[in-house]
């Protein structure tokens, strides 16, 4: 029923006799999720709409809250590593890395070069795998279904490498305080080389599929723009920040775990829209491959763990003939490690942004407080800003471009 201009401008009464304003009442509230396939998990977004234009988008989360931070206070430092896998479950090694480095900062130790290099290899392979999950699901949301099959096929090869190293595909817990749980198995280096030699062809394949695709460009260019200043004050980091043109990468700004010994570039975008964030992540995958390649070429020999029996348990062979080794083994697996009283925060460059762990130690083998800085959680705050004035269909593209993982947001 069409309203004439008089009806539009004068308040009228509704069925219950309450005065309503016809102009105001054109607003509509729509509930998107929690079981919407494009919300990448169980995220609910309340959209306030004027026609089809979004006025405000309010995310509601907590549906998969599992109390990991609370649980972390009741596990020893060594046991809590396994909890961190479950936060951002598509890049578990990086969570292990951030947590482990926070514990090592409390202890004041650093693993030997070979340990650091192996960590870098694991982390960068995991970063590529994480970006592949993002690319597949993001493209699927926008309607490019083939991409999903391509990326998940190739991701499986990277997960096989994680499995070869740790015995587990997705939850390795292989990076632990003091170093790694074990050295690379025989044939690992050759196999990683084989896989990464094939990767550039795969990346080209992805780009051919969607890069110049007019539909893809239409759906992503000029959508969900955010300026660097907004990113700063909202705490938005990672590829989302770099997409806005800020060349900031913690691997360069605060080099950790020998990252200063590798040559790589920081890809940046220009306009801070969905397309730029897509380009940044695509370029990052290539850079990560470069880092893995350099790490394999220069992989040093030697020990992988810190030489301190109070932090790292003795190797199995020693238990057979050394009483001291048995005592250390027993102490470390019953009591755990005892960092000094203090607090430590170590940020690393995760696939989603600044991933850090804040640990408060009271000198016992249990952390007094374990807290993760979840990059997805902070980046999600930009959603409303990015969505304002756009259409509902753009929300799907924007959520995909922030690359959120609900396991990390809800913890």
């Amino acid at each position: 029923m069409a309203l004439n201009s008089d009806q539009l401008n004068t308040p009228s009464l509704n069925a219950e006799g309450i005065q309503i304003d016809p102009i105001e009442d054109t607003k509509m509230v729509i509930n998107m999720g929690p079981h919407h396939p494009s919300t990448h998990g169980v995220l609910r977004i309340v959209l306030e709409l004027d026609g089809e234009v979004i006025i405000k988008a309010t995310p509601h989360m907590g549906f998969v809250h599992t109390g990991i931070e609370k649980e972390g206070e009741y596990q020893t430092y060594l046991k809590a590593v396994t909890l961190t896998d479950r936060m951002d479950y598509v890049s578990a090694s990086l969570n292990n890395m951030a947590y482990t480095m926070a514990v090592e900062k409390l202890l004041g130790v650093e693993p030997p070069p070979r340990g650091q290099y192996l960590r870098v290899i694991m982390c960068e392979l995991q970063r590529i795998a994480s970006h592949m999950v993002w690319l597949g699901t993001h493209a699927l949301d926008i309607g490019a279904m083939t991409m999903f099959f391509f990326t998940f096929r190739d991701r499986e090869k990277l997960l096989d490498l994680t499995e070869m190293m740790s015995g587990v595909r997705m939850m390795p817990s292989w990076i632990v305080p003091g170093g790694l749980r074990g050295d690379a198995p025989e044939g690992y280096v050759e196999r990683v080389k084989k896989v990464i030699d094939e990767l550039p062809r795969r990346f080209d394949e992805y780009e051919i599929l969607i890069d110049q695709n007019p539909i893809w460009r239409e759906r992503t260019q000029g959508i969900g723009m955010i300026t660097p200043e907004e990113c700063y004050s909202l705490g938005v980091s990672g590829p989302t920040l770099r997409g806005s043109g800020v060349p900031h990468d913690l691997r360069k700004a605060v080099p950790y775990s020998s990252y200063d010994q590798f040559k790589f570039e920081i890809p940046v975008g220009e306009y801070g829209d969905v397309y730029d964030r897509y380009r940044v992540r695509m370029a990052e995958m290539r850079q990560s491959r470069e880092i893995v390649k350099q790490a394999l070429e220069n992989l040093p020999d030697g020990p992988i763990n810190v030489d301190d029996r109070k932090i790292v348990p003795p190797p199995r062979e020693e238990l057979d003939h050394s009483m001291e080794a048995v005592i250390h083994h027993f102490k470390i697996w019953t009591e755990g490690i005892h960092p000094p009283v203090g607090e430590a925060y170590v940020p690393i460059e995760g696939p989603k942004g600044e991933l850090g762990f804040y640990l408060v130690s009271n000198g016992s083998s249990y952390p007094w407080r374990m807290h993760e800085r979840p990059p997805s959680f902070m980046n999600l705050q930009a959603l409303s800003k990015m969505c304002e004035g756009r259409l509902i269909a753009d929300v799907v593209a924007i959520i995909g471009s922030i690359d959120i993982i609900l396991g990390e947001i809800d913890r």
Binding site: G235, V254, A344
Partner: protein, 217 residues
């Protein structure tokens, strides 16, 4: 010639970092404690000054903390021996993690991280929100409210964020039990409130964690 050499004075009184100096100049009685550990500076301040100090951190051109990294809560209640752990005289702390992000485009930023800690006593669990300075404090402050029950005055939308809206109690407080809650549905009757059905446990056995609360209910 004086008794003390320059080296001696340096040892007894370490050089104050620029952040501490600036805060002391502007708000002389704000700082309660300064702590250096493994290269990080942590400044504990009176909670009345939180808003002012955070604003100073952002607006001062020399400090230039442009990036809001996060904020988190810590509960220092010692449930085993009573009192507060780690020699604290206040129960809660809210830690603001600020970063001066080096921006190559503009040449700003010092690549420095600072931790401002607000001391919050148990009987006055509130602090001024910094969402008007850094909008990014919105979600983390809601999380602290949800998990620790610290209210942020001036926050635009202070609701629970991870727990359901009708949850009773604040789960990350040290006196809140781990495990054993009966699942709570619409009327909100079944969540254990703080102080009721509390169980102390070392965190070693599954039964130790959950048994007594389940029995009580």
């Amino acid at each position: 010639m004086t008794e003390s050499t320059p080296n001696d004075t340096n040892d007894t009184k370490p050089k104050e970092c620029i952040e501490v100096r600036k805060i002391r100049e502007t708000y002389p009685d704000a700082i309660l404690e300064v702590n250096e550990f493994r290269g990080d500076t942590r400044i504990t301040i009176n909670k009345e000054y939180v808003h002012d100090v955070i604003r100073l951190m952002r607006d001062d051109q020399e400090l230039d903390f442009n990036f809001f990294s996060e904020c988190l809560g810590v509960d220092y209640l010692n449930t085993q021996e009573g009192g507060y752990a780690l020699g604290k005289d206040h129960r809660f702390e809210v830690v603001y993690n600020l970063y001066s992000l080096p921006d190559k485009r503009t040449g700003r930023g010092r690549n420095r991280r600072i931790f401002i800690k607000a001391a919050i006593p148990e009987d006055d669990c509130s602090v001024t929100s910094v969402t008007d300075i850094y909008p990014g404090a919105n979600f983390p402050e809601r999380e602290i409210y949800d998990m620790f029950g610290i209210t942020f005055t001036g926050h635009p939308d202070l609701r629970r964020i991870l727990m359901s809206d009708d949850w009773i109690g604040h789960p990350q407080r040290k006196d809140y039990p781990l495990g054993g809650e009966r699942v709570q549905f619409p009327d909100g009757k079944f969540g254990p409130s703080v102080g009721e059905g509390v169980v102390q446990h070392p965190g070693e056995s599954f039964f130790g964690k959950t048994a007594s609360v389940i029995e009580k209910n």
